[in-house]
């Protein structure tokens, strides 16, 4: 197998992304005495280019999808699709990350489960935790959140749709509902003293 370098992978994917290409970055990180490098490619693309870019990536090697990470940046929600190619070849694996930014006014992204079925867990999680609509997802049910979790609340969002303060449980306060922050609990009642034997309580 003729392996592409991270730079070549970035170029190939840039061509596949076409007009939707935003930026590309190759990174390396070495650890240990021998300093063997782990390779990474970070690509920013538009939503429309996600499927064509991924299809091109599949031609390089059928990728392993690790997870879809997220970041709420204010007006947008970033989705980071983490893939690995060249796994199974010692020290040659390349981590390919495709970043797609979605405007909060239009939180829709196409499903990639048609290409990699294993991405379903991560897509279901993104729907419930971020309020994103994954178009054509084969199974749109909630995954981790319970059925009675309120609609319209998305735990990972940092805006008004995030977790409101009244949903946060202060575990420290459990069983001490009458106390305020800086109050100490009242001291326990002193045990009655046995006059005949003051050392041992009654």
């Amino acid at each position: 197998m003729n392996l592409l370098t991270p730079q070549q992978i970035a170029e190939v994917l840039q061509t596949a992304a076409g007009a939707g290409f935003v930026s590309a970055r190759c990174a390396e990180w070495a650890e240990g005495v021998k300093g063997r490098k782990s390779k990474q490619v970070w690509l920013k693309i538009a939503r429309e280019s996600l499927i064509p870019t991924l299809k091109r990536l599949v031609e390089i090697q059928y990728p392993h999808v690790s997870v879809i990470a997220f970041c709420d940046t204010g007006a947008q929600v970033d989705l980071m699709y983490h893939f690995h190619v060249y796994w199974g070849i010692p020290h040659e694996e390349v981590l390919v990350t495709l970043t797609v930014s979605l405007d909060k006014t239009d939180l829709k992204v196409p499903t990639i489960t048609g290409i990699i079925p294993g991405a379903l867990t991560s897509e279901r999680e993104k729907q419930e935790m971020l309020g994103i609509e994954v178009v054509d997802i084969p199974d749109g049910r909630r995954l981790f959140l319970p059925e009675d979790f309120p609609a319209g609340v998305y735990p990972w969002r940092k805006d008004e749709t995030g977790i409101p303060p009244d949903m946060v449980k202060d575990l420290w306060a459990t069983g001490r509902e009458n106390l305020r922050f800086n109050d100490n609990p009242p001291p326990p009642d002193p045990a009655p003293v046995n006059p005949a034997n003051p050392v041992n309580p009654v």
């Binding site: 240990g32 690790s66 709420d72 199974g88």
Partner: protein, 416 residues
């Protein structure tokens, strides 16, 4: 004639049960049954979702590192090493080499303890309790060793961003070597007990099969993927810590049995092989342990100030006993807390593999199939069986009894 209305029992969908010995946290399976066969399988996780990412995005990086360590009670180093590696890449902190080696040594000891724990659980699920006692007695040795090296049996608290907090000194080497010798003996014994036993072979061979193609598409990780012939191991693929310095091979079941079938038996083989491999890696690393400091930035206040000034995004990965763990971290300048933190635990990737494994198998095989991916979601306290007309909840005791009875039936058949 009066018709009797059958009401669906309430509460089966959101249950938090007591810990099941096979699965360490709550998950619910919903299965479509035809006779004894599973026609369709589905699972509902999330009963133990604690919103750790939400909490981490409201704490500074050092606090989040300790919080990450508490994600899992078995993988005590996995999440803290992944989070630290992500932060180190963003801040360009070069971890001293001695710290890389100590991280890897503790990581391998953790693998030994986790796989032995799993071996015991799997034996228990089959009704093979003497092997369960044996595996867990052997495991105590590695727990003692971890306590001796790090001070703790479970949450080792040895990782710090930029290095490790405790050293391994030459005085401690003989105690480590003593344990490694003990595990070599134990490996031979466990391999004989598990792999040569006729009952184990009859229960596990061709049971819960995950084919190589299914494994490629559903993207499982760790021993679950390798037992199906997928050569994927972060330690080999993507060198990190001290793993780039030692020779490691992908452990697939064909190394021992000459073939890959992707069944429960292969998953036992893979894990046992990895115990043996870990013994070798610990020895290699100890022999090569370089001198030097333990921490790049020893003072936490200086470290926090540095992290507050950096911005960027990175991914930290580690091969946990169950497979790849990945942490995505994004930091913003001027902020103490991570702007984004996504944790991908290994079982998160392995869930989906349950469905092809379970479909077509028997109800009594559920415990061993569920346990065979070594789920760290854990804990089915009950399973709902959907027959065409009734809905029935089977408790974990019932399920365990079914599994033990199947083993007894096979043994009775063998005795004839």
């Amino acid at each position: 004639m009066k018709t009797i209305e059958v009401k669906k029992p309430s509460g089966y969908a959101t249950q938090i049960g007591p810990a099941h010995p096979a699965l360490k946290e709550p998950v619910m399976f919903s299965l479509d049954i035809e006779g004894e066969r599973i026609r369709k399988a589905d699972f509902v996780p999330g009963m133990a979702h604690r919103g750790v990412e939400w909490m981490g995005m409201r704490r500074n990086c050092i606090q989040t590192m300790y919080l990450a360590e508490r994600i899992c009670g078995i993988c005590g180093i996995t999440h803290s090493i992944s989070f630290s590696r992500a932060v180190e890449q963003i801040a360009q902190i070069q971890v001293p080499n001695r710290a890389h080696y100590i991280r890897s040594i503790v990581g391998e000891l953790e693998r030994i303890h986790s796989h032995l724990l799993w071996a015991g659980v799997a034996a228990h699920e089959l009704g093979f309790d003497s092997a369960f006692y044996l595996a867990w007695r052997v495991r105590e040795n590695v727990m003692d060793l971890l306590e001796y090296l790090t001070g703790n049996r479970v949450h080792y608290a040895i990782i710090q961003i930029g290095g490790v907090r405790r050293d391994i000194v030459p005085d401690q080497f003989p105690r480590i070597e003593e344990s490694m010798k003990f595990f070599e003996g134990a490996y031979a014994k466990l391999a004989a007990v598990f792999l040569d036993d006729t009952t184990v072979q009859m229960r596990c061979r061709d049971c819960g099969v995950l084919t190589t193609d299914e494994a490629r598409e559903l993207c499982p990780v760790g021993p679950t993927a390798r037992a199906s012939g997928i050569k994927k191991d972060v330690r080999v693929d993507h060198p990190y810590a001290a793993y780039g310095d030692v020779e490691i091979e992908y452990q697939t079941p064909d190394l021992l049995t000459g073939e890959v079938r992707g069944d429960v038996y292969d998953r036992i083989v893979t894990r046992l092989l990895e115990v043996k491999q870990s013994i070798g890696i610990v020895r290699q690393l100890l022999a090569m342990l370089p001198d030097g400091p333990l921490l790049a930035i020893p003072k936490p206040a200086v470290l926090l100030a540095k992290l507050k000034g950096v911005a960027g995004e990175a991914v930290g990965r580690h091969e946990a006993p169950r497979g790849e763990v990945m942490h995505y971290v994004r930091l913003e300048a001027g902020k103490d807390e991570p702007a984004a933190w996504k944790v991908k635990a290994s079982s998160y990737s392995n869930y989906m593999a349950w469905i092809p494994m379970m479909e077509g198998e028997q109800i009594a095989d559920i415990p061993i199939i569920a346990a065979s991916i070594d789920p760290c979601i854990s804990c089915t306290d009950r399973v709902a069986l959907v027959r065409p007309d009734v809905r029935q909840i089977v408790t974990k005791e019932e399920l365990h009894r079914l599994s033990v009875e199947k083993t007894r039936r096979i043994q009775a058949g063998l005795a004839k």
